[in-house]
Every structure is written in C-alpha cells, then in structure tokens.
Amino acid sequence: MEYLSDIASLINSTLRISTPLVFAAMAGLFAERSGVIDFGLEGKMLAAAFVSAVGSYFFGNPWLGLFLAIIACVGLSMLHGFASVTHKGDQVVSCVAINILMIGLTTALAAAWFGQAGLTPTLGNDERFLEITLPFANSIRDVPILGIIYSDILSGHYIFVYIAYLIVPVVFWIVFKTSFGLRLRAVGENPSAVDTAGINVFSMRYKALAINGILIAFAGAYLSTAVNANFFREMSAGRGYLALAALIFGKWHPKTALIACLLFGFTDALQIRLQGVELPTIGTIPVQLIQAIPYVLTVILLAGFVGKAMAPKAIGQPYIKER
C-alpha cells in the first residue's frame, strides 16, 4: 500500500501548487475575454500577497487581510483599465508598469513600515489560514481506498484550495451561460458590434477587470497568509506569468485552462519527487534536467497536441468609439 500514499502525496502536492495558478488563470480569463491583455497578474499577485500579510498582521484577522487585498487588486485593475481602456494606452506597457511598480513598492513599504525591506512580520497561527480537516477525516482513514481519497486527498487543505477548484465551474457558468458572459465574450471578439447593440464596451471591460482583481487577490493571499506566514519580496516568483501561459495553453477556456494549471502543478510536483531518485538503468538524473520537465512537456504539448491557440479577436486593441 506504500504506493497509494505516494500517489496521495503527489495529488495533494499538485492541488497545492496549482491553486494560485488556477486563481490567476481565471482572473486572466475575465480580462482577456473582454479584450484586455493582462500581463500584470504577476504584479497584482505580489500586491495581494503583501496587502493580505500586512492587513492580517495589523488587524489580526486573515479574512480582513484578504478583503484588503481584494480592494488593492481591484484598484490596480482599475488603474490598468484607466490607462488602457479609457485612455487607450498600450495594454502590455500598462501591465509591465504594474509589475515593476509592485516589486518596488512592496519592498519599499515593508522597509518603511517594518524596517525590513521586502519582509513582513511573521503571522501567528490565528492570523493566517490553516489547513482544514474535513469532518470524520480521522475516523474513516482506515477504510480501504475511500479512506485515502477522503482523509488524505480531499481533507487537510487550505480553504483556498477548495475555493480554487469550486470557482472554475462558476467561472464557466458566468462566461458561457449568462447574458453577462455573452456580452463579455462579444466585447472581446467584436466590440463595435456590441456597441451597435447598445452595450457600453468600456463599462463591460471595467466590470471584467473588477472580477479579475477579486480573483487574483485570492492567489496572492494564498501565498502569504496560507502557505507562508509572511510576505517575502518577489514571492510570486513568476506564478502570474505561468498562469497566463496556462490560460493561453488552455485556449482562454476555463476547463482547459484548469487542466493546463493542473498539468503545470503535476509536473512540478513530479520533479520534486524525482530529484535525486535512482531510476532503473538510467541512474540519477541531474537536477537541471529534472527541473526542465515542466517546460519541456509544455513545449511538446503545445507543439503536438493543443493545436492552434485562438485568442479573442479584439485582444490588445483599445476600443475607439466611432462618431
């Protein structure tokens, strides 16, 4: 039964690593489906991590920290919207500005408030999100198969992990089954047609960006108030970019984007477990090669199996209302 607990550990690890990617990919999906490129997921995730750690430290409540992070991220999304929707600036430039600004600002504010550049005080256990043990998890652990699935895989995660995977069907429903979602997609494909139909393109894009800000805040808060107990400079470590890659990989669709996030998480979890392990006939594989697995796999899948990525047609183009 040894291999069963190994598999459980691998699945748990995959779920944990993918969680911030799922939030970020869903956040990106709303923005990009509305025709606004969101390269700034990285910077917003960093901002959320910082604000939630600080908020949680000052108010002693992680939920309040998360709430403040949502406000901060929606604010940043609005800034992005103001620059690139209202004033029709280049969307990529605006995103890069947000990313660079957040790296500097979080470090500088931590230095000003706590005297430690790029680090916030460690949060106590009541100031952060802890792993949740589902009811009866301990009593049915010994039931074969089912016990492992329920007690070891389903139970014992941070609340963010549950929210992340429950939110994907909700996103699917909003984007594909509601009139709001129809308009959202239309704005990203053909804004002039939507405008002709009497729907305000700008307000649709702003609404999409607001949802984007709310979702990305969860990703950041997960990093600094659940997995870790403080903010550390540049702790988002490229997850925003990876999520964007997953979104493109998943052709801007929640289902496939989720699969792409899980694939990234899985390959990462796998490479952790393959490091330094002696494989039959091959011997120990060098760490550098093992750590390249996620990227090599991505290239192979992109080149061979995924097919043409179809971006929303109006993505990256500011909408200019014709008089």
Binding site: D6, T122, M235, V287
Partner: protein, 325 residues
C-alpha cells in the same frame, strides 16, 4: 561675500569630514535580499555592529539583478567606503573588476576564493560549510525518530552541494541506515526567493517520512522552516542562529561566522593591518559551527558532536567537500 564664503567652507568641511576622515563600511548584498533572516541579514547586523562599536559610517547596496552589482560596488567605493563587503559567489567578477581600481579600499569577498588580486586589497573568505553541516547532520540523525531526514537547498550550485554533502556525511556517520531526502529549489537565482516552493518541497519530504529538515536556501528557507513548524517536525537553520524563528520546533542552526570575519577585518582595516589573500575558514578556525541557544540539542547530542568536531579539527577525520566533485 564673507557669508557665502563661510557657507562654502562649512559645506566643504562637512563633505570632507564625512568622506575622508571617518571610516565607512560598505555592504553589497546578494540576491537573497538584505532581510533574508540568514546570510545577508547577518552581514547587515555585522555592519551595524561595526557602525555602533567602531563608530564607522555605513553604505549599502542591494542589487535587484546581478548586472547591477559592479556598478553598485563602484558607487559605494566612490562614496568613500574603506571596507567593502561583497556578499556571495555571484559577486566574484565584480570584486575582481572593481578592487584593482580602488587600491585604497579594502574588500572582503564572502564565499569567493579564486579571483586574481593584483592590488592586494581583497580578503577572500571561503568557509568549510561541509564541516558545520556535518555536525548538524549528526544532530539531525540523532534527533530523528523516523530514520528519514530532509535537506532543502536553494539554487543548485557547488556551494549548496557542499552543505548537502556535509549534512549527509554527518547523518550517515551517526546512523549508516538513515534515509536522506534532498531537494534543490531551482537552478536560477529566483530559487533564493521562493518560500512557497520551499514549503512545498518540505511537505513532499514530510510525506516521504522526514522528521528533521535542514535548509540552505536563503529566503526560500523561511518557507521551509515555516512548513516544518506547521507540520510539527524539526527544522535546522543556516548561516546565522535561526532558532528564534520557531521556538519549540527548531532543532539547531548551522553557523557560518562571516560576522566574525567582517568585524575582524573592519578592526584590522582601522588599524592598518588588513590581511588580503585567500582564507579557507572551518571548524579549526572557529568559523563554522552549530547553535544550541533556543534549540533542542540535548547534552548527549552535544557531547557526541563535540567529539566529532575535535576529530575534524585534529585532522583524524575528513569531511569530503562535494563542491570539488
């Protein structure tokens, strides 16, 4: 007119007094960042000590990427630092390029011991981290009840292999059957800044049965020790005494006494007896070790470790240096 002249004079005097008469210590930090609760922070604390105890001025530079290091170091030298501390192996090229242009400035290069020194003003300090890691490896093996221990490294470079090698040798010395799980966070400098990944690596090792984990991973290590504390297993800190971070779940910390090196060379710079050259510092010099304060090292462990340390110092036991492989 006289007034203007006197103002000029005062300004001139002020500028001169701050740059030429007082000693200044300059620190160029490594990519882990100044407050990593470890390597860089130790240099910062030591520079503060130099400032307070020796009355020196202090200038600092924190590079956001490696290409800025040389520029930053020149700037610090231009601002009149009498001793510049270059933190980390990544600054080797910068030190080699800058030091000859500032023959009146002394340099302490931590973790660098291979650059040419035509001007004779670089103190190159390499530490025998494998000896210190050997001792904490022994402690880990003695404290482990599951017979499995873990190691999380930062960026996969020979220096970190040195920590890993010493740790594994020490653990095997105590318990030849012990199982050691070792992970590296990454292969780019970002690997020093990824506590979330550090926590994930630690959780994987805990799932694999590890009940003691040793980190040599800079800022990533904060996540390692946090995950260890969350899971109720023991953590081992690195470079400076990190036992205070999670009281009750920290076993010990491997000490790398770069603080002693920096302080000593600051004193010697002031006295004019700076010692340029290559220095390999280990147990015999008292420059690596382990921390017992706030930790969970029992007297029995301590006596076993002290016995091994004495053998290493006397030369009757050798700890292999994995970075040379």
């Amino acid at each position: 007119m006289n007034k203007i002249f006197s103002i000029f004079f005062i300004c001139f005097a002020l500028v001169f007094s701050s740059s030429a008469f007082a000693n200044k210590i300059g620190v160029v930090y490594d990519s882990g960042g100044k407050f990593d609760k470890s390597f860089n922070e130790l240099a910062f604390r030591t520079a503060e000590r130099v400032k307070n105890e020796l009355g020196w001025g202090m200038v600092e530079f924190e590079a956001s990427n490696n290409t800025q290091i040389e520029q930053g170091m020149r700037k610090i030298a231009d601002r009149g630092a009498s001793l510049i501390v270059a933190m980390g192996f990544a600054q080797a090229d910068a030190v080699a390029a800058v030091a000859p242009d500032y023959p009146d400035t002394n340099f302490v290069a931590v973790d660098v011991c291979w650059v040419d020194d035509p001007a004779g003003n670089i103190y190159q300090a390499c530490y025998k981290e494998h000896e210190g890691s050997f001792l904490v490896g022994m402690i880990a093996a003695m404290a482990s009840s599951s017979g499995t221990i873990g190691f999380v490294g930062g960026m996969d470079i020979p220096l970190i292999r040195k920590f890993q090698g010493g740790y594994e040798q020490g653990a095997l010395y105590v318990n030849p059957n012990i199982e050691i799980l070792a992970n590296m966070t990454g292969t780019t400098p970002e690997a020093w800044n990824n506590p979330t990944k550090g926590a994930e690596l630690t959780k994987a090792q805990i799932d694999g049965g590890a009940d003691v984990v040793y980190q040599a991973a800079g800022g990533t290590g904060i996540g390692v020790l946090q995950a260890a504390a969350d899971a109720g297993i023991m953590g081992i800190g690195v470079d400076t005494n990190q036992n205070w971070m999670h009281p009750g779940s920290m076993l010990t910390s491997m000490l790398k006494r770069l603080d002693l090196t920096i302080f000593e060379q600051a004193e010697k710079t002031a006295a004019g007896t700076f010692e340029p050259g290559i220095h390999i510092l280990g147990l015999a010099e008292g420059m690596v070790g382990y921390a017992t304060e706030d930790g969970m090292v029992t007297p029995a462990m301590e006596s076993a470790v002290e016995a091994a340390a004495a053998e290493i110092v006397s030369g009757s036991m050798q700890v292999a240096d994995w970075s040379q492989e």
